[in-house]
Amino acid sequence: MAQKQRIYADFIPSTSSGHRSVNQSFQRHLRPTFFQFGINRMSLQSANPLLRVEQVSHDYTPATPALAPVTFAVAEGEFVCIVGTSGSGKSTLLRIIGGLVRPSAGEVWLDGARSTEPHPQIGFVFQKTNLMPWRTALDNVLLPLELIGAVGPAQRSQARSLLELVGLADFADVYPAELSGGMAQRLVLARALVRHPRLLLLDEPFGALDALTRERLNLELLRIQTGQHQTVVMVTHSINEAVFLADRVLVLGEQPGRILAEVGVDLPRPRSLALMGSERFGALATEIRRHIGLVDT
């Protein structure tokens, strides 16, 4: 709890209307459930996952279920990858966790409280690079802070240090149109991190990039994730990427999407790209492919 307070104190400005709204949502999300759902609270204390997805299913129309009931949990500091073919509902699942899509059934619990709408403690990186073209790199990173309160020198220096973290320190005053695809995606990452989210959701963040840029950004993502002890749930269709990044890989089957297997990745950290040539890496990737049905058993 003490750590949580500290994180909140980091980004709640002291004099603004945003203060109140964030605080209210903070209470709404975290407090009442303690009394209402005593049993859940008990079970949480033993496992203490940051995120729990319980029997979440979704269908856009009753005839076509996109997601069969899915249940899993993510611990604090864990990096979980969700792999699956397109049509496995993995993006839908991520949007449900992010509160952007209401599930047809089931519940999402974040830090012991039920979450039904976009949560202030979640950072979301979307499949498409959605930067505001009329804002400079710095102003794009500042946007999430602007929405919760006044932006002063403290917020600016915070945004600048994030730009530095993703290697864009020299591009603070540049408009997105002048950035390359890889740089734009780093910027999106910086924006998602600016509120110090406890949970970072990544929806195929590097899917549109070339393979080389993608590998480099994966390395940077790992560096940032390790440095900030960031909890990450990432959706990808690249098995290699999933094995390289994750502590645990959830394999999603298609139509309707459901968890076929959970594969723990026991590769040592810190990881380097050389690891991808190792025997263990190959074995894990093959295991995942077998679960999807790409490799005969």
Binding site: P118, F124, P133, R135, L147
Partner: protein, 280 residues
């Protein structure tokens, strides 16, 4: 749509400026990079020469076609005795008030129609149908109902300006990137934040296109109103000039309208360049 062509021309100018940079030196290079501003004095000078030549060659009387010198003289006279400013300021006021009225109403309604499909389907047929009524044709009615003064001209101008702004507002609001909507939703933006931080800036490029068109149409509205019934204004001055066969005065009034139109258009363009500087 005409706004499309205006935008297209501007874009073309920009492209030409960009692509022709690597050509000959000096004046030629200047012409290549900024064709319009550099050639402007030459074009104006040759038009004036042709005009003067035509008048002298055909020996037209001044009430048919006055020469440029006669027009210049008349301009000086009307400017120095204050008559030009007296009429121009009334027309300018009509234009500005009409623009404010028409544009603000169109922005509000356009935003609502852009946001709500239901409202759009409910109201659009009537709005489109109303556009088949020529404003020029109902101008006399507005004069009958609202008098000879400022109000009727502001209304005519407002009505004329309304539609292009409405269309561009709807297009602008509908064109907002849905991925940015997702972003704002994930960041729990409030309604007003959604408007000021996303919808307004995202719609601005299209809005400016509509606004440029509206400025030109506003001048048409004000002048038409003054033609139909007025005792002051540049449109009235033109009518008066026709009545008393003072053709140079018509030329002066038309020139004054051109100056007003150019100034307003350049003003909007300057604003556009400032607010859309990220597009360069």
């Amino acid at each position: 749509m005409a706004e499309g062509t205006i935008l297209a021309t501007i874009q073309k100018e920009r492209d030409e400026r960009g692509s022709n940079r690597r050509s000959a030196s000096g004046l030629l290079r200047g012409v290549a990079s900024y064709p319009a501003p550099v050639t402007f004095p030459f074009v104006v000078a040759s038009i004036l020469l042709l005009w003067e030549g035509l008048v002298r060659w055909q020996d037209y009387p001044a009430f048919i076609l006055p020469g440029p010198l006669a027009v210049a003289g008349k301009t000086l006279t009307l400017a120095s005795n204050g008559i030009l400013w007296k009429h121009a300021q009334v027309t300018l006021l009509e234009i500005v008030l009409g623009l404010l009225l028409g544009v603000s109403l169109a922005l509000i309604l356009g935003y609502l129609l852009g946001k709500s499909q239901t409202l759009d389907r409910l109201l659009s047929p009537y709005i489109v149908a109303s556009q088949t009524v020529p404003v020029v044709a109902i101008a006399p009615l507005l004069i009958i109902w609202f008098g000879n003064g400022l109000l009727s001209k502001v209304l005519i101008t407002g009505i004329i300006v309304f539609f292009p702004t409405l269309v561009s507002t709807i297009v602008g609001i509908r064109g907002v990137d849905p991925d940015l909507h997702d972003l704002m939703r994930s960041l729990r933006a409030s309604r007003s934040q959604l408007f000021f931080k996303l919808e307004l800036p995202a719609a601005l490029p299209v809005l400016f296109g509509g606004l440029k068109l509206s400025v030109i149409l506003a001048i048409v509205g004000a002048v038409v109103g003054e033609f139909v019934g007025a005792d002051v204004g540049l449109g009235f001055l033109i009518n008066l000039g026709r009545g008393v066969l003072d053709t140079p005065m018509i030329f002066v009034a038309v020139l004054a309208l051109v100056v007003i139109a150019q100034t307003l258009y350049l003003g909007i363009s300057a604003l556009e360049n400032y607010y859309l500087r990220w597009r360069k």
